[in-house]
Structures are given as structure tokens and as C-alpha cells.
């Protein structure tokens, strides 16, 4: 596209807006309940920040262009593609990755249900599938099979474990509903 030419600076705004980059600078992220300060360029995607800067490799890099779903993480509880989000745009939000699901060494009920229903073969898409299912159950504790299919429609599984994934989601919903105190 047309090359841009830097213009003369305009007069100062009353309250100047900080312009950051293109060099590295500090950004603050909250991931799985922990605060982190990263030193990255504005062009850093959330996915690269999680995997390469924070060592959280549960979110996978498949297509890196929003067409596979392996990088699914939760932003304020909602599933998003980490490859299509700048890390700098996640300041002030809560990120949850697959590493944040187990509590005190105990797997999350959705994780357990995936094991019990044998809902994976190679496992590459599994972190994303589990997070999509978790977000669904948080919003709708009693989903239909159709609700589950819609919820994981943005997560490709090339092994074709879909029927087991749907069963695992329904099993997890049942298990969560029967848990005392819920």
C-alpha cells in the first residue's frame, strides 16, 4: 500500500496520549491470576507473548491466522483466538490458558471428562477444545448437544474426535451439576 511519510508534529493535545513502540516496551498482563510485566513490541501477539515470553505453551500455534482454533484462550472468561489479538490490547483483561484450569493439583472437571470420554487422539487441539467447553459451561451449565457443537465450532480437530468431544462436554456438564454445593 501507499508508503506513509512522517508529518510535522501537530500542536500538543491538552492531555497527551502516550504513543508506544515500535521498539520494545513494558506491557502488563494478567494470566491465570498472576500479574506479569513483559518487555515486547506492540506487534507482539498474545499467542507469542504467552508461548515465547511466558513459557505457557498450552495454547498451540497452528495456522496463526484464525482458521484452526488451537490457540484458543479465555479473555475475561470468553474464548478468543490468541493469534488474532495483540498482547498490548490485553492490558486490563484477565487471560486464562489451559495451564490455569487445574487447581491444587486437581484437574478441572472438563479436563477429567475429556480423559474419561477419550476425547482426543493427537491432543494438539485439546487445550482449545477444553477452554471452549469450559466457557460454554460457565455461561450455560445445561447445554444441549447442539449448543456444544456450536461452542466448539471454532476448534478444528483433524483426528476427528468430535463425537467424543461432544460426549465429554455433556459429561462434564452433568458432573458439574451433580457436584455438591453448586
Amino acid at each position: 500500500m501507499a508508503k506513509a511519510v512522517r508529518a510535522e508534529p501537530e500542536p500538543e493535545l491538552e492531555v497527551p496520549v502516550p504513543v508506544r513502540g515500535p521498539e520494545r516496551g513494558p506491557i502488563k498482563l494478567r494470566v491465570n491470576g498472576e500479574k506479569h510485566e513483559l518487555w515486547v513490541e506492540p506487534r507482539r501477539t498474545l499467542l507469542d507473548a504467552l508461548r515465547d515470553d511466558l513459557g505457557l505453551t498450552g495454547a498451540k500455534k497452528g495456522c496463526d491466522e484464525g482458521t484452526c482454533g488451537t490457540c484458543t484462550v479465555l479473555l475475561d472468561g470468553k474464548p478468543i483466538y490468541a493469534c488474532l489479538r495483540l498482547a498490548i490490547e490485553c492490558e486490563g483483561h484477565e487471560i486464562t490458558t489451559i495451564e490455569g484450569l487445574a487447581q491444587g493439583g486437581e484437574l478441572h472437571p472438563v479436563q477429567r471428562a475429556f480423559i474419561e470420554e477419550d476425547a482426543l487422539q493427537c491432543g494438539f487441539c485439546t487445550p482449545g477444545q477444553i477452554l471452549s467447553v469450559k466457557a460454554l459451561l460457565d455461561e450455560n451449565p445445561n447445554p444441549t448437544e447442539e449448543d456444544v457443537r456450536r461452542a466448539v465450532s471454532g476448534n478444528l480437530c483433524r483426528c476427528g474426535a468430535y463425537p467424543h468431544i461432544v460426549r465429554a462436554a455433556l459429561r462434564a456438564a452433568k458432573g458439574l451439576a451433580e457436584r455438591p454445593g453448586r
Binding site: 478468543i80 483466538y81 498490548i88
Partner: protein, 334 residues
């Protein structure tokens, strides 16, 4: 991705000021823009995030006397789930539900969906310098054009990919815009243009103009209005429209049941032209007569009358004809 500077202003004036800098580009949900940055089809010097803006009306759906008002930063998920949209604008709820998949709908915004770039594989290819990217030639014209336009004349034959745009045009929506090139309210239909030798832009907005709100007029007699959005896809989900139809009919008072006469008609097609395509001849064919099988056939023929297929996309004519018929049949009064 090329390096860029980044700012996230809270005040609208600051955002508009920053957007006037050369090479500046607005960033909303980013689900389309990031794919362009990665392919280097866009190389902005400065990204101005509008996610920090505190301007009232930018987020959420509300109504006043005349309009349902949709903030441009409302996400597609918020739109599809909102009771006002579900109850009063079912065409729009149906359109929003068909966009991409949950992960994109949770992030993508109404404004971004309306302003998204075409999906043409030549445009999107990092190494192809097609006409739309400032080159000399549209490679789709003689190349792989299965997904390209059957209507409209333009040096670029990519189709507009938005689902919301046909639905909102069928609803006679307006966009409230602020910026140096366009300011005020304009009919959403007037937002779009076909690229030509004068300008490769697909909307009338300049780079520093922002859509703030979408205003959808409330029908005076809602019980007499029926509408539907149908989308033909390559699979049941996660696909851009191969062809889509947004249809809205009002039925005249004093005529009931199967004899009900069509008053006003809107028929807007997606996936078939470089902009959302109003099938005006089909609309005219529907007005004033009952929605009989013959009227539906006439409208479907009128909808595809001007089509100019290319080597690989004549199937879209049959698809459009069938989808128009299916949409109109679904609007028959009980």
C-alpha cells in the same frame, strides 16, 4: 508483521487527531486487521486502538423513540445475544449468528464487520500485487474466480464479505460517522462503493473517519413486517457467505393471510458483488401484489437478471435464485 507504533486514547478527539497522522489506522477487534498485518497487505505506521474510547453510545444496544441504536464497538456476540436485537431485529440476529465462530464473535465488532477487507485469495496473498493493492491487474478476472462477483462493474471483482451489511441495509439502517472526510449520519447503503480508477476504496470513509453508531429505524407497525437472513456456506459454520440474502417485507393493512399484499420490500444480496447488492428490480416486482408462487418466481428472476458470471462462478446465479425464493417463501404470512 511490520513494526508499528501504538496508541490507545480514551477521548474521541485524541483518536481523531492521531488517525490524521500519515500511515495511521484504527484498530477495533482486530480479527480482520491482524490477518492483513501478518500478510503485509496493510503496513500501518501507527495503530490507534479505539477500544479505550469512553465516548457514550460506542458500546452496547439501546433504543430511543425512533431507533434501535447499536454502538460500533458492540461485539458480534453481544449483538446476536441482545434481547432488543432478537425481538425487534431478527434479520440482524440471524446474520450475526452466522459470522465466523464464537472466538471471532466474542472479539469482532459491528464497526469492524462493516469495514472489513475482502477475502479474495489474490488480494490476501502476500506476494501478489493485484490491482486492489496498487498493481495493474485483477488476477481473479482470468484466474480462479469461484468466489467472486456476478454483479457490478469494477477493476476488482472481489465480493464484500460482511453478513451484517446486507442485513442492516435491508433494515434501512444509518451509520453515524465522525471524521474529517465524512461527518454525520448516512444511509448504510451509501457507505459502500465499488472500487474504480478514481479510488480503490470500498467505502466512502477516509482513513481518519470512524463509525460511532448504527441507527436502525423502528417500524411503525412491527406486526406487519417480516424479515429473514439466509446464508449459503461451504460448510455449516465458519465460512464467509458464498451467497447471502437479507429480505424484509411489510404487508399492507387490510389484506390478510395468503392474500396479504406486499407494501414495501427490501432484498439485499451478500457475496455476489463488491458491495452489498440491492436487488431493486426484485423489490419492485414484489411491491403491491400478494406473495404468490408466481410473484416469488418473478422476484427471483429479477434478482439475477443482470448477473454476469465469470468462468467459475455461474453456480452463484442458481444459488442466488434459489436462496431468494427460499427467503421469500419463509416470509409468507401465516
Amino acid at each position: 508483521m511490520k513494526r508499528f507504533r501504538y496508541a490507545r486514547p480514551e477521548r474521541l478527539e485524541a483518536a481523531l487527531r492521531l488517525l490524521r497522522e500519515p500511515g495511521a489506522k484504527a484498530l477495533a477487534g482486530g480479527t480482520d486487521l491482524l490477518t492483513e498485518l501478518k500478510a503485509r497487505t496493510q503496513e500501518p505506521e501507527l495503530l490507534v486502538s479505539v477500544q479505550g474510547l469512553q465516548e457514550p453510545g460506542l458500546r452496547g444496544v439501546r433504543e430511543d423513540e425512533r431507533f434501535v441504536r447499536i454502538g460500533a464497538l458492540t461485539t458480534l456476540r453481544e449483538l446476536e445475544a441482545h434481547p432488543l436485537v432478537r425481538d425487534k431485529l431478527p434479520i440482524l440476529a440471524q446474520a450475526a449468528q452466522t459470522v465466523a465462530m464464537p472466538q471471532i464473535r466474542h472479539v469482532g465488532t459491528v464497526g469492524g464487520n462493516l469495514m472489513q477487507q475482502v477475502r479474495c485469495w489474490y488480494y490476501r496473498h502476500p506476494f501478489v500485487r493485484c490491482w486492489l493493492k496498487g498493481g495493474e491487474e485483477c488476477y481473479a478476472e482470468e484466474g480462479l474466480n469461484h468466489r467472486h462477483a456476478i454483479f457490478g462493474t469494477s477493476p476488482c471483482i472481489a465480493v464484500h464479505p460482511s453478513d451484517l451489511a446486507p442485513a442492516l441495509i435491508a433494515l434501512d439502517a444509518q451509520a453515524r460517522v465522525v471524521g474529517p472526510d465524512v461527518e454525520g449520519e448516512l444511509a448504510l447503503e451509501e457507505l459502500y462503493r465499488l472500487p474504480d480508477e478514481r479510488s480503490r476504496a470500498r467505502t466512502v470513509l477516509g482513513p481518519a473517519d470512524l463509525i460511532l453508531e448504527i441507527l436502525v429505524p423502528k417500524p411503525s407497525e412491527p406486526t406487519r413486517v417480516r424479515g429473514v437472513y439466509l446464508k449459503a456456506m461451504e460448510r455449516a459454520t465458519w465460512s464467509f457467505a458464498v451467497v447471502s440474502v437479507a429480505a424484509r417485507l411489510s404487508f399492507e393493512p387490510g389484506s390478510e393471510g395468503v392474500r396479504a399484499r406486499v407494501g414495501d420490500a427490501r432484498l439485499v444480496l451478500g457475496g455476489v458483488a463488491g458491495k452489498p447488492w440491492r436487488a431493486r428490480d426484485a423489490e419492485a416486482a414484489l411491491r403491491g401484489s400478494p406473495l404468490t408462487d408466481e410473484a416469488i418466481e418473478r422476484a427471483a428472476e429479477a434478482a439475477v437478471a443482470g448477473a454476469q458470471p465469470r468462468a467459475h462462478n455461474a453456480y452463484k446465479i442458481e444459488l442466488t435464485r434459489a436462496l431468494v425464493k427460499r427467503a421469500l417463501r419463509s416470509l409468507l404470512p401465516p
